[in-house]
């Protein structure tokens, strides 16, 4: 791997450059034989962000993370971590990685596994002694470090995986489906953990197909499908867009629709309800007043926020056709 290291002046410059994004990929392509796992993946993750990487199974999420960690070499394109080529040992020292299947050497105890990984990460014996109980506590495994991983439940194995990823105080954490084996309480703990990491200034790259989870913790999101980013942006922008109002009425007729058309675009009409796209939710009281004055009975006026799931489904489905 050392042959990929850049010349030392360039490296020093890259390390010193605070401006380099945590992750930057350009035209990343990966072929496995004839199968193309990644087409042309370009994205940038800024420092301190919690970035959600979202896509259906087989979209190329795991391949991307493996390229970022240097486990897989791209067929074409570039990936840089803090300005260094992905796979560079210096870049890898700054990464914490929870692999998708979180399988660890199960003949080890949790603490021994962390000790082994700490050694590989370059932590001194003293640092390991101090840090291991800390991370065990952080992931909710305090007091369980002496047990063999073989006897851990799936949830505990995932937690020890998280501990392993955070052990060496990385600047960037790559989490590939970090909550797949956790129960709802465990998921909440991991969400809180991720928020804590953000508060400490870490960058988190979160691979997940659990939309609600991404929605709850991520600042920015990229939706990937068949090896391409189909949409990316701030979460608020993605799910925001034009707001919608759902009106529940005693009846719907043309006169009403004409009146509502003054305020926005009529998106859907049903016997007793209308969905109206409006430029701003501020118009809601005026709409209510108009309806009541015209003699209709208004049972409900509900602002509808598009969920990430709606965005995701519409994007992935539209490509399917």
């Amino acid at each position: 791997m050392s042959q990929t290291a850049s010349a030392s002046p360039a490296r020093a410059a890259a390390e010193g450059s605070a401006a380099a994004p945590a992750i930057e990929t350009a035209g990343l392509r990966k072929e496995y034989g004839r199968k193309v796992a990644l087409h042309d993946l370009s994205l940038a993750v800024q420092r301190g962000e919690v970035f959600g990487f979202l896509g259906p199974n087989g979209a190329g999420k795991t391949t991307t993370v493996k390229i970022l960690t240097g486990l897989v070499r791209p067929t074409a394109g570039q990936a840089r971590i803090f300005g260094l080529p992905a796979g560079d040992p210096v870049a890898r020292r700054r990464i914490g990685y929870l692999p998708e299947h979180f399988r660890f050497h199960d003949w080890l105890t949790g603490a021994d596994l962390l000790d082994f990984h700490g050694r590989l990460a370059g932590l001194s014996a003293e640092e390991r002694r101090a840090r291991i109980p800390e991370v065990l506590h952080l992931v909710g495994l305090a007091g369980r470090g002496g047990e063999r991983i073989r006897n851990y439940s799936k949830g505990m194995a995932q937690r020890i995986g998280l501990a392993q990823a955070l052990l060496h105080r990385p600047d960037l954490v790559l989490l590939d489906e970090p909550t797949s084996a956790l129960d709802p309480l465990g998921r909440r703990e991991v969400r809180d953990l991720i928020r804590g990491l953000r508060a400490e200034g870490l960058t988190v790259f979160l691979n997940s197909h659990l939309l609600s989870e991404i929605e709850m913790v991520c600042d920015r999101v990229a939706i990937v499908d068949r090896g391409r980013v189909v949409r990316s942006g701030r979460l608020a922008d993605l799910v925001g867009g034009a707001p919608e109002l759902r009106l529940l009425l005693d009846r719907v007729d043309d006169a009403l629709l004409a009146a509502l058309g003054e305020y926005g675009e009529v998106l859907a009409v049903e016997p007793a309800s209308v969905t109206l796209g409006v430029p701003d939710l501020e118009v809601a009281p005026a709409i209510a007043e108009t309806i009541v004055r015209a003699g209709y009975r208004l049972f409900g006026l509900i602002p509808v926020q598009r969920s990430l799931e709606d965005v995701f489904v519409s994007l992935v489905e539209s490509k399917e056709l």
Binding site: M1, S2, Y32, K66, T69, G70, L71, V72, R73, P89, V90, R92, R93, I95, Y97, L98, P99, E100, H101, F102, R103, F104, H105, W107, L108, F116, H117, R119, L120, A121, G122, G161, Q164, A165
Partner: protein
């Protein structure tokens, strides 16, 4: 440094999976059996010798028993080396445990070399202990002294090391099962080639001898054993065997040539290098 961490980890792994314990218990059982058989036969020989003296037989007895015992150790060590290393890389890939490890700032070469160092260390200790114990038994019971036990042990250890390096290389390319089949077949082929060469020599058939030589250059494990065997046979026994054109089909009556020994040392290094290259190119 990282390679050493991997080596340490590999030895821990062998210990915790009871591989080392099983190896030690079974091997000690073998040494016990050998001691009993040796003592029993030695007693019979002494009895027979008392009624009808046969100095040639007495001289041959120590050599033959030492060769038989060490031949068994050679097999045990070869299998142990094979079993240790057959899934060194492929097993880790299959179980998915490599991802977290190799995302650390360590090179693929560190991983391969660390594994190799651990296996080589284990095999070295194993061969030295087992061969040492057997030769000690021969000495205590029959007063038999092998001419050059150190040289014999080094050559004996090289055989399993060569095999485990081959299987380490194989495990970067093949599944554990396929790798085991391939390396075991190569080991069997080398053994067969040794026999073919021996028979060819006895029949003065040049083609058979050449076939044996070619195979033993590709996989020198059997030839290494033969080289080792030379150094544990008494000069008197060797002289008699040379006169009678080879007494034991799986032991040598001439020392291994220097170029062969150099090749046998280079062989694992070449395959270690190939393993590093092959693993470094692999996507995980």
């Amino acid at each position: 440094m990282n390679a050493l961490a991997i080596a340490r980890f590999t030895i821990q792994e062998a210990a915790s999976r009871r591989l080392i314990l099983a190896g030690v218990v079974l091997s000690l059982a073998f040494v016990g059996l050998f001691t009993l058989g040796f003592a029993f036969l030695n007693g019979k020989l002494a009895e027979a010798n008392a009624t009808r003296p046969n100095p040639q037989m007495v001289a041959a007895f120590g050599s033959i028993m030492a060769i038989l015992g060490l031949y068994a150790v050679h097999f045990l060590a070869s299998f142990l080396g094979l079993f240790l290393s057959v899934g060194a890389i492929s097993g880790e890939i299959d179980s998915g445990t490599l991802h977290a490890v190799l995302a650390r700032p360590i090179g693929r070469a560190d991983f391969v070399v660390g594994r190799w160092l651990a296996y080589v260390g284990l095999m070295g200790v194993y061969v030295a202990l087992m061969a040492g114990l057997l030769l000690l038994v021969a000495r205590l019971i029959a007063g038999y002294e092998a001419p050059d036990p150190a040289r014999a042990m080094v050559l004996m250890a090289l055989g399993p090391i060569l095999l485990l390096t081959l299987s380490l290389f194989g495990s970067t390319l093949l599944s554990t099962l396929a790798n085991g089949v391939v390396v075991f077949t190569l080991f069997g082929l080398a053994w067969l080639a040794g026999i073919i060469e021996f028979v060819g020599d006895a029949l003065s058939n040049e083609a058979m001898v050449n076939l044996g030589i070619v195979v033993s250059l590709l996989v020198p494990s059997d030839e290494l054993w033969r080289g080792a065997s030379y150094y544990v046979q008494s000069p008197a026994f060797l002289a008699a065997a040379t006169a009678g054109r080879g007494a034991i089909p799986f032991a040598a009556i001439a020392p291994p040539s220097t170029p062969f020994v150099i090749w046998a040392v280079l062989h694992p290094l070449v395959f270690l290098l190939l393993a590093i290259v092959s693993f470094s190119r692999r996507d995980l």
